[in-house]
Amino acid sequence: MTKRIEARFEQCRAEGRAALVTYVMAGDPDPETSLEILKSLPKAGADIVEFGLPFTDPMADGPAIQAAGLRALKVGQDTVKTLDLIRRFRAEDQDTPVILMGYFNPIYVYGVDRFLVDAKQAGVDGLIVVDLPPEEDDELCLPALKAGLAFIRLATPTTDDKRLPAVLSNTAGFVYYVSITGITGAATPDFGKVATAVERIKRHTPLPVVVGFGVKSGAHAAAVAQGADGVVVGSALIDALKGTLDAEDRATAGSVEAVTKLVKELSEGVRSVAKRAAA
């Protein structure tokens, strides 16, 4: 049921490298530009794409992603339109896994059952919903697994060995390790500690472990790729995009390219670290 995700990690393993996972916000700075960016990401070296579902009150996100969500909402982005963009992406790219990442309220209000049907049909492979810990698995995680969508869980530095089995129990696709206690785009993690944490999680699960939060450059990506099966970059891409917007937050000629340029650098960083092909 998580075929595209599994195939993509398999491919990366065969190439002896970690996967690059990129995050951009749907509808930022406008729907068409965000679709163009989404389409350009795999071509620039992204292996898996995360598309942000805008929300007014993103309590785990730093200033970059908060502002991106508000820009998208300002031009009228909503859940229906976001699924539509994914449908259009999927029409041209049948292989790159698409993960929808956001907060529960827009999904809850859309209606969980209807959302799962529509998301699956649009070509979504997995969901990351920040404010749904294992304690609330009945809400979306279990219905999503039943509907054939991966529910990708966040593990954090505060998730100890006692809690890990609960966090991993209903997760699918991959595990997302949050490298710091904090919000997106804030501190740069201690890469040594991250490697130790990834090892710890891998003792509990056969799933790939990807690492995100605070990864900003090709060098960071290379450092994380030493131990992890994948590297997630979000805020840095959004910052790159924001740097090209005009005074009214509109896209300019260089907007898409600013993002792809950084993705290429990150991709080179990830590819600079040779990993053993999986046995």
Binding site: P58, M59, A60, L70, N105, D131, P133, E135, T158, G182
Partner: protein
């Protein structure tokens, strides 16, 4: 809304997962879950520890000044010509509002847990002032998140917090009001999980906050029962309180929920009216998930949280505590609303008739007392919670009434 079976008791919630019916829960980032479970455990232990209750009682008496009086509002009663009106005088507490009851409990709990850094969100500033006060008293670091818009409209409270040694952080994100202050406090907590205690100001947030804050505020209703028995030899016939998040209201209501003959009214802020900008989550919202719990929220079709509006910064929140959402669906409490203008009229009436300047928040409750009391017989006993004093609002009220305080 489906008809639901009435429970044997309305006072047993929440369940072990923090649910009041379908409301409540623990909708937070994984980083916070271990902290929330630790807090739940620590609170359970404290709740069952007589020494914790002894500490609470001692500081309540000598520091806060409890019990607060139950006062017969004779002239208001005469003026309205119906129910006999009593004021529960929470505005006489140290720091001038009911907020301090909850903060005392949480700060004593933080001390038990060995947490040295306290964070809080605040709207009007009353919860921020209460938190800054108790942090000063116990020598704890205090950081208060406050929307930049609220910092501007509640300057005296910002100064009070500064004088008490707290650091007030103006929040520039989102709509720059109370909900954004709460987002920013949660972001701080996610970042500083190890040493930080988040002192939430109302009966919202993830479990165990709604239950814990309610328990700390129940002193209001418990005292009211005893005081009314002494004054009149029986229980009141009705209770009225204003609701933003709903902590002063649940504190008054909860000890009476199983007394079926007691009518209970919660008053939300209708702002410019329910068809315009307002803050009445139950009257004008629907169920959603925000700030760690499922409850009634003001939002658009896509689940994006709407801007609330009330003349009272303390009621200016797009959600409501999950237990109120449940009591609303069960029909045990009647939730009604008062507009900005009705609250301003009630503020003036109370000031002139009783010599008590209520805060704009309880002025909303008084506005409905003005409506309800004349419909009741003279032997009907009505209690309204005067949850805070109006000094903080004088500049704003003067502006609305076309006067200027130099």
């Amino acid at each position: 809304m489906s008809a639901q079976a009435q429970p044997n008791s309305y006072r047993t919630g929440p369940d072990e997962r923090g649910h009041f019916g379908q409301f409540g829960g623990r909708f937070v980032a994984e980083t916070l879950m271990p902290n929330i479970l630790e807090l739940e455990k620590a609170y359970e232990e404290a709740r069952n520890d007589p020494s914790f209750h002894a500490d609470m009682a001692s500081y309540s008496t000598h520091y806060i000044g409890r019990p607060s009086p139950l006062y017969f509002a004779e002239r208001m009663t005469e003026h309205l010509g119906g129910a006999k009106i009593y004021f529960k005088r929470e505005e006489l507490n140290h720091t001038g509002a009911h907020k301090v009851n909850n903060v005392l409990g949480q700060i004593l709990l933080a001390r038990r847990m060995g947490k040295k850094r306290i964070i809080a969100e605040t709207g009007a500033g009353q919860h921020g002032v209460a938190t800054a006060t108790l942090c000063a008293r116990f020598g704890l670091e205090c950081i208060v998140y406050m929307g930049a818009v609220d910092v501007e409209r509640q300057k005296p409270n910002v100064f009070r917090m500064n004088m008490l040694g707290a650091k007030v952080v103006p929040v520039q994100s989102g709509t720059r009001t109370l909900k954004d202050a709460m987002n920013e406090a949660l972001r701080d907590w996610v970042t500083n999980v190890a040493d930080t205690f988040y002192c939430i100001g109302t009966v919202a947030g993830p479990h165990p906050y709604p239950a814990m804050v309610r328990d700390f505020q129940c002193v209001i209703g418990t005292e009211t029962r005893e005081q009314m028995m002494q004054a009149e030899g029986r229980l009141p016939d009705s209770l009225v309180a204003c609701i933003g998040g709903g902590s002063n209201a649940i504190g008054l209501f909860h000890p009476f929920l199983d007394d079926k003959d007691v009518e209970i009214y919660g008053v939300e802020a209708a702002g410019h009216g329910l068809s315009n900008l307002h803050a009445a989550s139950l009257s004008g919202g629907r169920p959603g998930v925000l700030h760690g719990n499922r409850t009634y929220l003001l939002m658009n079709q896509d689940g994006q949280i709407a801007d609330a509006h009330s003349i009272s910064a303390g009621l200016d929140y797009p959600g409501i505590g999950p237990e109120h959402a449940w009591l609303h669906e069960m029909g045990r409490v009647q939730y009604i609303s008062a507009t900005d203008d009705e609250a301003l009229d009630a503020f003036q009436l109370c000031s002139r008739l009783e010599g008590i300047l209520p805060a704009l928040e309880p002025a909303h409750a008084l506005a409905k007392v003005v409506e309800l009391a004349p419909q009741k017989p003279k032997d009907h006993l009505m209690v309204v919670n005067i949850s805070g004093r109006g000094d903080k609002d004088l500049f704003q009220i003067a502006e609305h009434l076309g006067n200027r305080i130099v």
